[in-house]
Symmetry: C2
C-alpha cells in the first residue's frame, strides 16, 4: 500500500467522523430551537421546489435517498404534524401525493433560518472558494459513479 493510499484511507475515516459530528451539531441546534430534525427539512424543501408543491411518495423517496417503507412513515410523521398532507393520485390510483401545507411552508422557512446558520458555522466557514470547487468536483464524481453503478446493477 502506498502512502497516498494511506492518506486516502485516513481521509475516509475523517470524512465519516466529520459527517457524524457535524450532523450531531446541526441536529442539536435545531432541537435547541425547538424545531424538527433536519430530515424533515429535506422533505419540506423538496416539496416546495416541486411543481404544485407536491410529489409522489415514490419521487420523494428517490430524492431523499430513503426507502419506500421509511418514506411512508416519515410522511406519517409530517402529516401528523400538519406540515404536509396526502392527496390521492388520479392518474394512478395506487399512488399518493405528499403536498406541502401552509404550515409546512412556514416551518421550512423557520428551519432554514437556523439550519443555514449551522451549515455556515460548522461547514461553509472552513471552505475557501477554491476548496468549494475541489470538493464539488470530487464529490460529484463519486456520486455519478455510484449512481451509475446502481443503474448498471438494474440491468
Amino acid at each position: 500500500m502506498t502512502q497516498l493510499d494511506e492518506a486516502r484511507n485516513s481521509l475516509w475515516r475523517l470524512f465519516l467522523t466529520v459527517h457524524t459530528r457535524l450532523v450531531e451539531q446541526v441536529e442539536q441546534d435545531l432541537k435547541q430551537a425547538g424545531l424538527p430534525p433536519f430530515e424533515w427539512y429535506d422533505v419540506l424543501v423538496a416539496l416546495k421546489q416541486a411543481p404544485g408543491r407536491r410529489l409522489r411518495l415514490s419521487e420523494l423517496a428517490e430524492v431523499l435517498l430513503v426507502n419506500r417503507t421509511n418514506i411512508t412513515r416519515l410522511a406519517d410523521r409530517l402529516e401528523k404534524a400538519g406540515l404536509i398532507r396526502r392527496e390521492a393520485c388520479v392518474d394512478d390510483r395506487r399512488g399518493a401525493f405528499a403536498v406541502l401545507t401552509k404550515a409546512g411552508s412556514a416551518m421550512q422557512q423557520k428551519m432554514w433560518k437556523v439550519y443555514s446558520q449551522s451549515i455556515a458555522q460548522y461547514f461553509g466557514r472552513y471552505l475557501t472558494e477554491a476548496d468549494v470547487a475541489v470538493f464539488t468536483r470530487a464529490l460529484s464524481a463519486m456520486l455519478a459513479a455510484v449512481d451509475n453503478l446502481e443503474s448498471a446493477n438494474d440491468e
Copy 2:
C-alpha cells in the same frame, strides 16, 4: 446571500448525499461478502491498535462517537459473535474492558480486504493527491472547531 454561500449550501447537500450513498455501497459490499457492518470494523481496529488490544468501554465510546448506551449494546453484539470479550477492570470496579479475541483479529483482517477495496473504489479513486490535501485540511479544521465547541460547552 452571496453566490458563494449558495455554492456552499449546495455542497453541504452534496456532502450529505455522497455520504449516504457511499456508506450504502460499502455496507452492501460487506454484506455481500457475508461480513458484519462496518461499524464492527471500527471497533475491531480500535481495539487492535490499543495497548493490550483492549479499551475501556467508555474509551471505545469516545473513539467511535457512539454514546454509552449504544456502546454497551454494540459490545454485546460483538461479544455474542465471539469477536471481543469483556474483562473486569481492577483499578475501577465499575468499569469493563473490551478485549479483542483471536477471532476478532481475524475478522478485522478479513473485513479490511473487502472494506479497503470499497473505499478505494468509491472514494479514493476520485481524489488526486492535491484533492486529498485540500479535503484533509478543510475537514480537519471543521472537526477541530466542533470538538472545541463541545469542550467549551462543558465548562
